[in-house]
């Protein structure tokens, strides 16, 4: 149990403030100023640079399976990715991925 309420509130406030400053950082300070082409070129790859890395460990070592690779989850992730590329639809990929997960869990016992 977390009993030290002073520490808790310090964490809540500083984490909230710090997270806000991280989010505000570039958007706030650079604002409307022009950035050099080489910076823009790198920024075009932020989403595809962060998101896949964010999920990779969750897919390969899922906590729900005590950190062991789960074939059903791995196959479902591949299915979602394939559907997303093929249909170019985010909704299709989410639904397809979850259906694939339940199907593989059922089939693989």
């Amino acid at each position: 149990m977390i009993t030290d309420k002073t520490t808790l509130w310090i964490v809540i406030i500083l984490l909230g403030l710090g997270t806000y400053l991280i989010r505000f950082s570039f958007l706030g300070l650079i604002g409307g100023r022009e950035m050099p082409e080489w910076v823009l070129r790198h920024l075009r790859y932020v989403a595809v640079g962060v998101m896949p890395g964010l999920v990779a460990p969750l897919v390969v070592w899922p906590a729900a399976n005590q950190g062991n690779t789960d074939p059903a989850r791995l196959l479902a992730a591949i299915a979602a990715f394939a559907i997303g590329i093929w249909l170019k639809s985010v909704v299709g990929a989410v639904l397809g991925g979850m259906i694939a997960l339940y199907s593989f869990q059922y089939l693989l016992g």
Partner: protein, 244 residues
């Protein structure tokens, strides 16, 4: 829907953000439950949810406090989990950097992964969007997500039951990010950047404070930018050759 004015941009954003309700609801419920079990009362749980609105960092902070970690370590670790958002912040600058300061301050507060990814995908697909359309679209994306994040954290804290693990909704989170990313694989640089991101994060999993992800993302961005340059040069060379 065709975007013609800020109102239709907002509604299109709302529609494009709504699939992620599936992810936000179970995740928020779980946070409410875990936080309450950890000893946070309703006000403390909601204060954290509203001030931080970043699920992964909130779970990290609560679990480290349960382990009696020093406050400095709790803050450092949880903030490192959120460091990726500095990259989101930078990536939004070319699109909405010219928006008024007040709007940008609000956009920063609501900068959640899903809204960022959905919005940037749209900005790249439809570069002719005007600034008011872009900001309206962004607020549209987060409108179905953030209020439900608050509401279901509250319900989780009050009711105390999360969705049973048998439904495997834990996996809705990776599925959601994969689904957001897959349609972005529209060119070789994007695909190679994603590949580097996955490989480098897995290889750098031992790096403390989640900084492996940040390093992997930077490597991925460098890969994407370099491959883009090489492809552009290659496409240009034959015509220049003819001219000479």
């Amino acid at each position: 829907m065709i975007i013609t004015n800020p109102k239709s941009a907002y509604l299109t954003g709302f529609r494009d953000g709504s699939p992620f309700i599936l992810v936000v609801v179970p995740f928020a419920l779980l946070f409410g439950v875990i936080a309450t079990e950890a000893g946070l009362n309703l006000i403390e749980t909601m204060a954290m949810t509203i001030m931080v609105i970043a699920g992964a960092a909130q779970f990290t902070a609560v679990s480290l406090m349960l382990d009696q970690a020093p406050t400095f370590i709790v803050l450092l670790t949880a903030l490192a989990v959120n460091l990726r958002m500095a990259m989101y912040s930078a990536a939004l600058v070319p699109h909405v950097g010219k928006a008024p300061l007040g709007i940008r301050m609000l956009m920063a507060y609501f900068m959640v992964d899903q809204a960022f990814a959905v919005a940037v995908k749209k900005y790249n697909e439809e570069p002719q969007m005007t600034l008011p359309q872009k900001t309206a679209y962004y607020f549209g994306c987060l409108s179905p997500i953030v209020p439900l994040w608050y509401l279901f954290s509250y319900i989780g804290a009050v009711v105390g039951t999360a969705i049973p693990p048998e439904y495997s909704l834990d996996f809705a989170i990776p599925i959601c990010f994969i689904s957001l990313t897959a349609p972005m694989m529209r060119s070789a640089p994007h695909f190679l950047a994603a590949l580097v991101s996955v490989a480098a994060t897995l290889a750098l999993i031992w790096v403390p404070y989640n900084l492996g992800l940040i390093a992997a993302a930077m490597l991925a961005m460098m890969t994407g930018a370099q491959v883009e340059l090489i492809l552009k040069r290659r496409a240009r060379t034959p015509t220049e050759g003819q001219a000479a």
